[in-house]
Symmetry: C2
Subunit: 386 residues, 2 copies
């Protein structure tokens, strides 16, 4: 397979944005192309991660809409959807397209415009990422599903409410340093524990917010990268796996098999181990999800993921910072954008361009993007250097 | 690039089906795997074309749902969406995945479950394939857009209502021979011309029906194909292009630039000319769309596409049969399934397995799948032989 590198990255500020999905997507695309120092005429294919543009905004068929607004030519434009992992899947399609030899310069973007819908409507739209017939149709929306997961994790491994709350405190402390984050506010352990219950044991401050935003990266073959950007980033591995969608079909809800499999394949393809990773962006849609990701990827033994935030190991300045951007929890979670934003964040970190939340000297990073209650997972490992 | 072959094909009967999208998709997958003589454990990646499962059925994140129902393992499952070209785009992602060397055996499916929604609701859902802000939001649903196109084509080239109606008569005559077609009824020129006006000059019998259905193909590297199937089919070219989404942004609405570009690239990659094609399945969502496809692909000069059906050249028994399956017009148009069903149809024709509507001795076929009012197009050229 041809190797692939990242030569441009762009993220819009996340939050409540007045622009349409098309404009947000185009904004991220233009920033990424500018960062890569290329014009839209150089782009040979476009992949867009988007979960529910149709439901949120009335517009389906978003890939050519965004591409046209970003000034691209009549190139192949494809939307990839895998619920909250749509961005990671779009990234993987971009990697495969270059690896195949069909194209050289590829633009990958992710976008979601969520804040226009009413709260109950939004919960229903998001619930369509799970098994609609057996879950959403009887009221099991995502906070409820992750509450069941959290409760079981507490029961099996002694994980505590405080362990989860500390993930929120840590990621908000990170997001406070990220000028593009949706929630640039520090919070305390007491505030998380005392926040409004959503689905016991999950409280409001255990949840990622409903955000608008977009992100984009420019990819090219490894052999072209050094000529196009002074600090290219290598894609060492692009892995993806799936699992049964419904929680009731899983034999063990304290782990996501899709994460375990995708991470295992990513490490195998990169020829690496978890201890080789300097920083990671993981899918903390709820605080328990970060704890599980740390375990399922292999950074911690099963049941010990709560240690990461409690002992400071996953904080900025710790042994392996996790979600230095603020994560979904504080940076925000515009669903289709998230996977691509994680890739951007890792790429900027490895270039030393992450700004106030820079992890000094990071050379290898991992991005973990989960879809639904684990039916889809994409894991990418990136490294600095041409 | 590694070459890719088709070693299995399966189509569900199209029509009003009681099953869910997940069950329809799984049914086509099982038929395709059975045709390929492989079990679900052999499949290494899954791509699903689906346009609007969320809007039609409440279920998003359909790829792992269908894969699980079809018995696949925890393999990468990705949904591709490009409006009515979603199936063609899923096919292309499957081809790229194999060409990249990442995987060998790939299952590609397309599905749409449309008949559960009310008529007005369906029109709105389909309208999201165009530019929502400038078209659908002010009432320009698809029959209206194609009526504008048809009227302009009539004005520029002298195309007549009869030219269009003859496409419907021909495709219904073909669909009458296809036991899987939604509308297995012969119709007359007078019936088409006298059918209820929808958006002048388009009448009811100029429109493809609202259908449920699914289709699937099994792909593998060319070098493996002969060992896996007695009659493998080669994918000579997989091409895709885009165009501006809104009709008002196009300089000429009598041609789809995305079709022109995708067809040109497909012929270049296959090292062929339009006259080398023995049969084609083209995207006849409305009768005028078949006439334009014949011109834009290069089978006829611009303005002369109406000749195809009038002079019998594109009928079964003619020089180059078009939509021998009945096309979208009579076979039915479950949106996300259509592109994959076209590939199945061509593959079965080239194998000599198409049944009553077989085109004798066909060796090279072309599939043309259009998205929206031309913002997306995928063209595949297939040939018999290992």
């Amino acid at each position: 397979m041809r190797s692939v590198s990242i030569i441009g990255a762009g993220i819009t500020p996340f939050g409540v944005r007045p622009e349409s999905a098309v404009r947000l997507g185009a904004e991220a695309c233009r920033t990424a192309m500018e960062d890569a120092g290329i014009g839209p005429d150089r782009v040979e294919a476009f992949f867009l991660g988007n979960f529910a543009g149709h439901a949120f905004t009335g517009q389906n068929h978003l890939a050519p809409m965004v591409a046209h607004a970003a000034g691209l030519g009549p190139v192949p434009c494809t939307r990839a959807e895998g619920a909250c992992a749509s961005g990671g899947l779009a990234m993987r399609q971009g990697v495969l397209a270059i690896a195949s030899g069909a194209v050289d310069v590829v633009l990958v973007a992710g976008v979601e415009k969520m804040t226009g819908a009413a709260t109950g409507e939004t919960a229903q739209i998001l619930a369509a990422a799970g098994d609609y017939e057996s879950e959403a149709s009887i009221g099991a929306t995502f906070p409820a599903l992750f509450a069941l997961i959290a409760r079981r994790h507490m029961h099996e491994y002694g994980t505590t409410r405080e362990d989860m709350a500390r993930v929120a405190v840590k990621n908000h402390a990170h997001g406070y340093l990220n000028p593009g984050a949706h929630l640039q506010i520090k919070i305390t352990l007491e505030e998380v524990l005392g926040s409004r219950p959503v689905a016991d044991p999950i409280c409001l401050l255990d949840c990622s917010p409903i955000s608008d935003g977009a992100a984009a990266v420019v990819l090219c073959p490894g052999e072209m990268a050094a000529d196009l950007h002074p600090k290219p980033i290598r894609v060492l591995a692009s892995a993806q796996a799936s699992d049964v969608p419904a929680l009731s079909d899983k034999s063990d809800i304290t782990r996501f098999q899709s994460t375990c499999r995708a991470a295992e394949e990513a490490f195998r393809r990169a020829g690496m181990q978890p201890e080789d990773i300097d920083l990671a962006e993981v899918h903390d849609c709820f605080t328990i999800a970060e704890i599980m990701a740390l375990e399922d990827i292999g950074f911690y033994r099963k049941g010990e993921g709560g240690r990461g935030a409690c002992e400071g190991e996953t904080a900025l300045g710790g042994a392996m910072p996790v979600n230095a951007s603020g994560g979904l929890k504080a940076k925000g979670h515009p669903v289709g954008a998230t996977g691509v934003a994680q890739i951007c964040e890792i790429a900027l970190q490895l270039r030393g361009d992450a700004g106030p939340h820079q992890v000094p000297g990071a050379e290898v990073g991992l991005a973990h993007n989960l879809g639904g209650s684990g039916a889809t997972c994409a894991v990418h490992i990136l490294a600095s250097g041409a």
